[in-house]
Symmetry: C2
Subunit: 138 residues, 2 copies
DNA sequence: CATGCGAATGCGAATACTTCTCATTATCCT
DNA sequence: AGGATAATGAGAAGTATTCGCATTCGCATG
């Protein structure tokens, strides 16, 4: 029963929110755009408006349930927040997304921010390249 | 005479292109949005359309004259390409932008891409935080 | 378990940013 | 200078996202 999760986050357990959470949890891809979520809802026979999808995803982000990314595509993508931080490496040919975590980079970032006098609140690191499959295909 | 620079880049030396290049070179801020450039043109008494600004900036990017960034603001910002690669650290309060370069991070990124089997083409790293001035102000 | 209040939703209109279309104009080669 | 060709300006069109508001739903209460 996920409605507990929502209540814990200070959100009413409404049908749209439960459905969207479900899609984020059980979708093939971990990274979904608002449009992706909307289409998944329609395919599931749900009658949810696109505006609600945007609203709910934004609320989920504020509540720390999902993370919003800006890949170089012109729209936001959302990913369930599972606690473990990671960065992304993306294929510029096929759009494949992989994840990684590197302690050294994390440490250096913190050091750079400190040296510049900043108190670091967040960071985003995307590596772009051509994935193994697309290299073979070329 | 900068028209040589444009010709070298394979672009005709038109008035809008010269003016935009000039703005990018002499603006207070290194990082400008299309709208910023457009406003600067109008203030300079130039009669250039916003569509042209977008077109020219995109061409400049393709020609390697400028670099396009996607800070978490929903629009693109452009910066003159001066050869030396660097990453950015941004203040989430006042929008200040600083630059840095870290050899260790650059190397690690390359290593991570290789390990994942990717051939790296590019990367973007933004550190978000609160700048010294905004920390004092709080 | 019926009921009411406030919060959440769906819809379409509105906004922000960017690109496209096309008639007009400017650039550059000769 | 003249003409082929590419570039421009203006506004329409296209995406991505948010807003406004009447209606509906969740949930604490009786």
């Amino acid at each position: 029963m996920e409605s507990q999760d929502l209540k814990k986050a200070g959100l009413k357990a409404t049908l749209p929110r439960l459905k969207i959470l479900d899609i984020l949890e059980h979708s093939r891809q971990r990274h979904l755009s608002a449009e992706d979520v909307y289409k998944a809802l329609l395919e599931g026979g749900e009658d949810v408006g696109l505006a609600t999808v945007y609203r709910v995803l934004t609320q989920f982000e504020a509540a720390g349930l999902v993370r919003r990314h800006h890949f170089d595509e012109g729209h936001s993508v959302f990913e369930l927040e599972l606690g473990e931080h990671h960065d992304h490496i993306l294929c510029v040919k096929c759009g494949r997304v992989d994840e990684f975590y590197d302690e050294t980079i994390e440490d250096r970032q913190q050091a750079i921010a400190s040296k510049a006098g900043y108190s670091m609140t967040d960071h985003s690191l995307y590596i772009y390249g051509i994935c193994p499959a697309c290299q073979k295909r070329a």
